[in-house]
Symmetry: D2
Subunit: 129 residues, 4 copies
Amino acid sequence: MESSQRECVSVATKDVSLRELRDRLAEFAKLRGWEQYHSPRNLLLALVGEVGELSEIFQWKGEVGRGLPNWSHSDKEHLEEELSDVLLYLIQLADVCGLDLGQAALSKIVKNAKKYPILNNPTPRSFNN
Amino acid sequence: MESSQRECVSVATKDVSLRELRDRLAEFAKLRGWEQYHSPRNLLLALVGEVGELSEIFQWKGEVGRGLPNWSHSDKEHLEEELSDVLLYLIQLADVCGLDLGQAALSKIVKNAKKYPILNNPTPRSFNN
Amino acid sequence: MESSQRECVSVATKDVSLRELRDRLAEFAKLRGWEQYHSPRNLLLALVGEVGELSEIFQWKGEVGRGLPNWSHSDKEHLEEELSDVLLYLIQLADVCGLDLGQAALSKIVKNAKKYPILNNPTPRSFNN
Amino acid sequence: MESSQRECVSVATKDVSLRELRDRLAEFAKLRGWEQYHSPRNLLLALVGEVGELSEIFQWKGEVGRGLPNWSHSDKEHLEEELSDVLLYLIQLADVCGLDLGQAALSKIVKNAKKYPILNNPTPRSFNN
């Protein structure tokens, strides 16, 4: 744990990759004997639970501006934690499904670029339409 | 679009970072004039929409094994796309909130390591408890 | 099917109860041989899928006023359908779990009334806190 | 509050209607000055938060059988509360949107009956397809 803390400090300024997070999470689960619980649907429901936590942060706030004007430091820290929880379960879900999330994301961006050519779109359309 | 396709091919085998995806998505939205629609709550609801699409893939399947045994190639491709859509909106949400998702995720892993010391946990506990 | 349509017309102006919907849905599933697929987690994921569809209706709209000012009739019909889909899966989930959703909801309102006594609360608090 | 408790006891065995719950919730919010916070998107995000709480109950359980075999009484009570929270926010969301959830649900069942005629469907299909 000490070492992982030092490690985190040491990487605090470098770019973070999806595979690095995937590998850290796989080791985290293995060391705790949690792999047996990490079935795709268990992880998916855990992800949904975290999306709920994320939504609770925003639920009574009305519209929120870019950059979170007037949010306290602790509110922003809480948001960082919930965003992270969603990401960590998403990465683990992709991993137990045997999929490369980073490559899939790059491919999806290219697919979206073809689907939404650059012109004056009046409104955005959901990427899954 | 052509260039982004070539770029994607060129990076197809390298590790993908959260900042790279963030920057590509920011450029994607800027080139299409979509930034005006990317408020935190709009992106959050778009994320929830994609989590719904992801859940629909698993909804009638009963328990699913690690590695998705017996899933067709096209089912796996569909899953890759929905996992990607969730990731892409999550990254954009963090970005418009002015937060560094990768650093936040590393910090959360360290925090979780402190919260769940390595011993024989009988069952996993949700990271947000 | 014809009969159920006539039945619906006949009840079109009366109050609708949760048990009536539960019983109609149970018959609906039984007549189609769908009970075998209606496990709690399958229905929960189907519910999450519908919540995603519901969120997609609101995702690019920014703040929306009470009564949906300026929404078209077809947008309101679409919203009615998605709200219904969430309700129908929620009722079926409670049913396969052997729980009485209506009684549970009444009890929760009473519990909330105790938890949030009537005074000038500055902001609402999530009922699950 | 006392009166509402007595009222709940008095209705404990009768069927519960959606309009009754809608009216109780509207009064509940009005008495606490919460109406100002009950915009459609605030309530939608609160609903998503409750769906997350509901999912957390199921997230590490693997497949769960109909009737929740081997669940403790307290686990079932917890589930009743989370199912209720989802229902209560769904009813309030429909209400602030000016929609009649019960009539919409009956209409959706009829529409689904037309969409899925009675025959041996090999697998269920999501009602929103």
